[in-house]
Amino acid sequence: MDKKEMRIRILKAIEHEARVDISELAVRLGMEQSDILNEMNEMEKEGVICGYLTLVDWDKTDEQTVTALIEVRCTPQRGQGFDVVAERIYKFAEVNSVYLISGGFDLLITIEGRTLKEISRFVTEKLSAQEAVLSCATHFILRRYKDHGTVLAKKYEDERQLITP
């Protein structure tokens, strides 16, 4: 197995299982534990691996959170396209993600706040106030069914017979 293939296999494995025990992962992938650790270290340094996250369904806790998707139309800056606008937006701590997208809008932002009010304040006072921002459309998320490839709504149940030939 070459380095490239090794890396892809490691990434595919840990993408949805960040907390997997590395010695177990080594067994499952048929690799050496030290090789996996080395590659992971290297990929962390190279920024291929950007972090290890936990997928939380906040709705099942007492913590109040509101998430919104915001579509933003803006004017690109001379010589820098949308990079500068994007940067000015992603630096706000409450902004979770910023994507440049094709279609009727330029940027897609996800933002998390504790209340509707918090988010609307951000949109009116911070986001719309950006010089390059022409307009935005805010969509509040009502329910998360699936996130990061994981279905949140339903639990898997094994309905197979206990024994079949």
Partner: protein, 387 residues
């Protein structure tokens, strides 16, 4: 009143593990590693196509041999995977699971008294199908030291002048054994010299973890004498759709289709439409599932080694077949006690032939988390037995 049951049926040995199945089915809270089907749901895009076919009102019979579109996709698939071309019109038949194809092949090929070589341990239906078709099963006890691959000498010893058919069940349920190209090549001369036909049950062909699976049809002179059986159950996690197929020489397929027409009419139409989608756009799903099984397989082998449980490394299907001979109990007793004491269900090797004595079949069509819990209990069980 007269005995209503045909003698042939009464004499048919009931599946050896009926008793064990009954005990298991009463234990609702048991963890099972005893299932012979994938734990994955059928990929949604395939299910969606089935649903769409219902919405469109495609609720009629198809032609006896199945939708032409599907047969042509199957022909392409076999050509791409084995380099052998079957005419979708006359050499492909869609059946109700691979199981029906096995039954049809036996009935189409056997005259009373014809002998059929069945390597064991293997799937439970070969011997009954042979008997009901009037044939005489001649079982070959495969050996663990050969990784349960059929040896040339074993085949040679089983051949008589009455031998008509050989069943080749690889990748194998329950052992997980495979036959590689060289293994098959060693059998080829014997098969041709003795003019034997082959039923090659390759339902687990996509679940092969060493090299890509090689079918006997790809060897010279074998296509003409082989009924190649495959299906959608294992590769695409479609067991409940009941869809398989047979490819083979036109003269044989014609007669199989005749039998199929009289007893089944045609395979389920909804399933056939879903299967077209599976073959056209399902390869990625197959690859991902294979990768998941392979990880579990390696994990199980590693854990067995830690426990000191003897097991040859299987490279196919989703089973491991460890030896429990060191405990001096029968397979059935071992499984019953494991179930009663630790609430883990595995299948006694004897369910798949007498030579499965001393082994148990453990399926890894379960999530890693599930496997871990079950393995922990098996570990405890083994420790207690060893004292």
């Amino acid at each position: 009143m007269r005995d209503p049951i045909a003698r042939k049926v009464t004499e048919l040995k009931p599946s050896g593990i009926r008793k064990f199945f009954d005990i298991v089915s009463e234990m609702k809270d048991a963890i099972s590693l005893g299932v012979g089907e994938p734990d994955f749901d059928t990929p949604w895009h395939i299910r969606d196509e089935g649903i769409y076919s219902l919405e469109k009102g495609r609720t009629f019979y198809t032609s006896n041999s199945g939708l032409k579109e599907l047969r042509s996709e199957i022909s392409k698939y076999v050509e791409a995977s084995q380099g052998i071309n079957y005419d979708p019109v006359s050499e492909v038949l869609i059946t109700v699971g691979g199981s029906e194809a096995i039954d049809l092949a036996c009935r189409a090929l056997l005259n009373p008294g014809d002998e059929v070589i069945v390597p064991e341990p293997s799937y439970v239906s070969y011997v009954p199908c042979v008997i009901m078709a009037g044939g005489v099963p001649v079982t070959v006890d495969l050996k663990e030291e050969n990784e349960f691959r059929l040896q040339q000498s074993e085949l040679e010893n089983a051949i008589t002048e009455k031998t008509k058919l050989l069943v080749l069940p690889y990748p194998n349920n329950p052992t997980g054994a495979i036959m590689e190209k060289e293994d098959l090549e060693r059998l080829a001369d014997l098969i041709i010299k003795n003019d034997i036909y082959i039923i090659s049950d390759e339902i687990y062909s996509e679940l092969s973890y060493k090299e890509k699976h090689v079918s006997i049809i790809s060897l010279p002179g074998m296509k003409e004498r082989t009924i190649y059986i495959n299906g959608f159950s294992k590769a695409y996690a479609m067991t409940g759709w009941r869809l398989g197929y047979a490819c083979g020489p036109e003269n044989i397929l014609k007669e199989m289709t005749k039998l199929h027409q009289f007893c089944i009419m045609c395979a389920p139409t909804t399933s056939q439409y879903a299967a077209i989608e599976a073959l056209r756009h399902g390869q990625r799903d197959v690859d991902e599932m294979r990768e998941a099984y392979n990880g579990r397989r390696r994990f199980l082998m590693h854990e067995f080694k830690e426990m000191g449980l003897k097991c040859f490394e299987p490279y196919g299907a989703f089973y491991v077949f460890p030896s429990i001979k060191e405990f001096g109990m029968s397979s059935e007793d071992f499984c019953t006690e494991l179930l009663k004491e630790k609430k883990v269900a595995v299948v006694p090797g004897t369910a798949f032939g007498d030579c499965g004595e001393g082994f148990v079949r453990i399926s890894y069509a379960y999530s890693i988390d599930n496997l871990k819990i079950a393995l922990e209990r098996i570990r405890e069980f083994l420790q207690e037995r060893r004292g």
